[in-house]
Structures are given as C-alpha cells and as structure tokens.
C-alpha cells in the first residue's frame, strides 16, 4: 500500500513498490527508529538502501537503533525555499552522528541522520533555542506525525545529557 500525507505544504508520498522506505517510515509512525542491519556483515546503514553499501549484501533485517547522538554539522535557513517553511525561519537542519556504529567500518564512516531541531512534540524549535544549538550539541530523536504509516524523525535537545560548554556555531551571529 502506498503512503500519502501532507506536511508543511508539501505532498509527501511513498510508492507501494518502495518497500524499503515504506518499512522505514512505518517504524517512524510507531515512534520507533529502525534501520536495516545487513545479514552478511552486520553493519547498519542510513538512509534505507536496496543492498549493503559496505558489502553489497542483498538481505537485511530491520533493527531498533538508539536515536541518540551529537550534531555533526548543520545549516540554519533564513531564506526558505519551500513556501510553508518561511514561517519557521530561522530553522535548523541538523546532521546528527549517532552514537551507534560511530567510526565503523572505517574511521570516516558514521550514521549521520538528518532532521530539523524541534521541541519534544516534533514542532519546530523557536529562534531563541535555535541560537543555542551547534556542532557538538547532544540531541535525542523525536517524531513529527504526518499520516498513517508516515512520521518524520526529528531532533530535540537531550535534556538528560551532559552538554558541551559551548557548542560550535557559525562565527557571525
């Protein structure tokens, strides 16, 4: 069954043939973060793929992965491209390096998962919070519900984690 939903003025959809994305977002809709774990080399990958980027293995099993990590890089959008995002500026897109499988299979590899900076309920973070987050900030995964079978993974500040004294931010504020 294909999945359809409206989110931030955009028509989101996943075709019924796209089994990988259907499975990924179905777990998200249940507020669980699952990634494909290769049946051959046991490495996890993001985003969903149809074979293993590390060993070309064709079979994988959806496996629960902890949605915790630190901001690896980010962008702060002031001029939104998509119309509905204009009301949310400035907003952050975070690339978060998960604690899971960091530096594997090579020191340059990592699971770097995208998402906006949101409140724990998945709503966009306000500008005064946006200003406090940078490279190194510890975050945890939350979800923005979109439709039946579809929620988007998002990131919120991890209230229980020890935060860096001063996360790295773009020098010109």
């Amino acid at each position: 069954m294909s999945v359809k939903g409206d989110y931030m003025g955009m028509a989101l959809s996943i075709d019924d043939l796209d089994g990988e994305n259907i499975s990924y977002f179905k777990h998200c809709a249940e507020h669980q973060f699952h990634l494909q774990k290769c049946d051959d080399c046991a490495l996890v990958r993001y985003p969903p793929t149809t074979a293993c980027p590390f060993c070309s293995g064709g079979n994988a099993t959806w496996t629960a992965v902890e949605g915790k990590g630190a901001v690896y890089s980010y962008l702060e959008v002031h001029h939104a491209i998509q119309p509905a995002f204009k009301a949310k500026t400035p907003y952050l897109v975070l690339l978060v390096e998960l604690d899971t499988q960091q530096g594997q299979p090579t020191p340059d590899d990592g699971l770097r998962v995208a998402g906006n900076l949101t409140l724990p309920n998945g709503e966009f973070a306000l500008p005064e919070v946006v200003k406090t987050v940078g490279i190194g900030t510890r975050v945890r995964m939350v979800f923005s519900d979109v439709a039946e079978g579809l929620a988007l993974p998002q990131w919120t500040i991890d209230e229980t984690a020890t935060q860096p004294a001063k996360p790295w931010r773009y020098p010109q504020e």
Binding site: P53, R112, Y170
Partner: protein
Amino acid sequence: MPLPADTDVSTPKFLRDKYAIVGVGETTYTRGSGKTTRALGTWALRNAIADAGLKASDIDGMLSYSGNDSTPSTFMAGDIGARLNFYMDCMGGGSSTEALIGIAIGVMEAGLCKCVAIFRSMNGFSQVRIGGTGARSAAPVNGDMLHNRAYGWQSAGQNFAPTFMRHMYDYGTKPEQVAMVKVVHSEHASNNPKAYYKKRFTVDEVLSSRIICKPLHLLDCCVETDNATAIIVTSAERAKDQRHKSPLIRGIVGRCSKPRLDMHYQHGPISRVAGYYAKDILWPNAGLGPEDVDAVGAYDAFTFTSMLQMEDYGFCKKGEGGEYVSSGITRLGGKRPQNTSGGHLCEAYTHGMNMVIENVRQLRHDVDDYCPMGPDGKRQHTFDYREGGCRQVKDIEVTANLGWANPATGSAMVMRRGT
C-alpha cells in the same frame, strides 16, 4: 614554456594534446531572455561554429546536459542544419562540461564521429530558477526525497551547507576569508564587458548581505541568469585547419565521486570534496601538476565551492583554502588568477561552460575586456588590471577547470596553449 617530460607510464599519454577546443560561443547573459531554450541554444551554437570558422555541416556529433530544463540535440541540429552521426542528451548540471568533453573524445576515438558540439541552454532565471524557488519548490516529495526535502533541505545551497559549515569547524576557516572569493571574482568581472554583474564588492559588503542559509550570505551565492553556451571539440589534427591556435586538451576526469552518493554525508570527512579522488586521475592524465597551472576556473556556484576545490585538487594544503583565496594569488596579476571572467558569482550561471569558454579564450590570448582595439580587430592587452582595464593573463600556457556537481561529485580538465 616547455612542458614537463611525460614520465608517467600508467596513463594513455597518446590522448594528451590529441584533441582541441576549436570554437566557443555564448548568447548574451541576461535575466529575462524572452526566448526559448531552443532559440538560445541555436544562437550559442551558431556563434561557436562561426568562432571555429566551420560550417554547420562540419558538426557531426552533439552532446548536451540539462535538468529537464532545455531542448534536446535533435531540435538544435535540425535548426542549424547539421546531420549528426552521434548525439546524446544527458542529465546533469555542474561537472557536466568537462565530463562531456571526455565523452566527446571517447566517441571520436571510437570512430563514431569527427567533430562534436556541446551545449547547455537554460532560462535559469526566467523559467527553471537555479536557486530552487518557483515551480521546483512546490514539487511533490516522493520516496528517497523524504530524507532531505521534507526537512526544508532542498536547494543547492541548503544541500551543500553541512560541508561548508563543517569545513569552518574542522579548519577554523573564517567568513571574511571565504568572502574574498566573491571580492576577487567581482574584480575580474568588472573588466568583462559580457559579465551580467560588473560591480566590484568588498569583504564588508559580502558579509553584510543578508543570510540565505548559514554559512551563506546572498553574495556568497552565484547569480541566476538566462543563457546558452557552446563549445566545439575535434582532433588537434583537424584543428590545424581552423581559425585559431586552438587550446589542446591535456587531461580530463569526469564525474569522479566520493563514496555513498545516495547520501554522501555518511562518509567523512565531509569537509573533503570529490577533488580528493579526482586529482589522482587529472594530474597523471595531464602529465602536469597544480604548480604548472597559470589560471583556474574553479566552479563558483558558491564562494565555498571554489575554495574547497582548490584544496582538494592540491593547489594548497587541505584546510588552508581560506588563506589561499585571500592571499592575492587568485587575483589577476597574482600567481594563479582564477575565474577571470567573474565566473558563476558574477558573469553568469551556465553550469560550468562559461568557465571553459573563458579559459579557451585566455589560452588564445584573446579575451574581451576594455583594452584598446588594435587595427586587426583584437584587443591590445595592457595587463593593467585596474577597474575598467585588462583581464588577459600574461604569458598564459596552462589552465585548469574544476567542475562541481555537489561536494561528492566533480569533473576537471587541463588545457594548454595551442601550437
């Protein structure tokens, strides 16, 4: 200038200098062309054919690239009256020019055709806006695109920004250093009659322009223009009959990539770009190195893209790009001027082709600027690079073009002056 001896036996040296760019042409660079991409394309092709001193019937191969925002070769060839023995229209934007020149050489080597015209035609301002606003911003988001577009992470600037930001974090690169790319390219544009934006900018003006998407200010971003551009590639042997001492192609690398093109940020360091891999093909193929290059066209979709490529192709050490682009080396009159037409930041946005055209003219010692016109109808270059003056690089022998699709994919080409 004698070129270094060919010492590398691992590459097909016999293709070095075997093909030439014999003609280049472009339309006016505008915002609001009032023409179809078909009309723009034939305009640029006719200019390139005339520049080469050829007839349309001499063109028997055609290549183009687009993002479904152009007109295919079939219509262009029909309109100008060229019967083709080979043609292909490819998907792609930046990094396509050099890659398609490589393909043109390949098909000519294979005997498929003898003379290939390559064009890019686009209404990047008035139809499909390159900055991503307009029709493209409202497109449905399906399947794999959910992992980026759904987060308001869509335009080129937004897509590349994590690389730029992480470079500042990894190496302490400063905004005022990166801004120098725009400053220098704008100086060059001010001496280019064809440049869409001819105004010279200061570092302060770049840094005080509005933020588009941190770390990018408005003036860190390229222009959006309507234009077509074309080049003609044929064998050096055939090139001898044409009008110019045509620049010879030394070596090419095409759409060389980092791992994980499905989402390249999975493999780091993300402040590294495709040139890290491409340099090991480009320089051995050319039999030359960065130190031999007199001028560079470094794809400047953004100030950062130009700077990052200079590092990874080995013009400076990794992490020292900020210092390099603010040292004066890249200015006209400096050791290795770059983007001498103003590039994508100032002259026009053409997905790479205008920077190849510029280097061809530089190597012919024949750029257009504000130098006095001689009796032969050519500029008498003064090499006085002040505003409103010259932009011809003195004694130029070797150029490099560094094409960029995104942080993970790039193409490049080395040319030398024709003999």
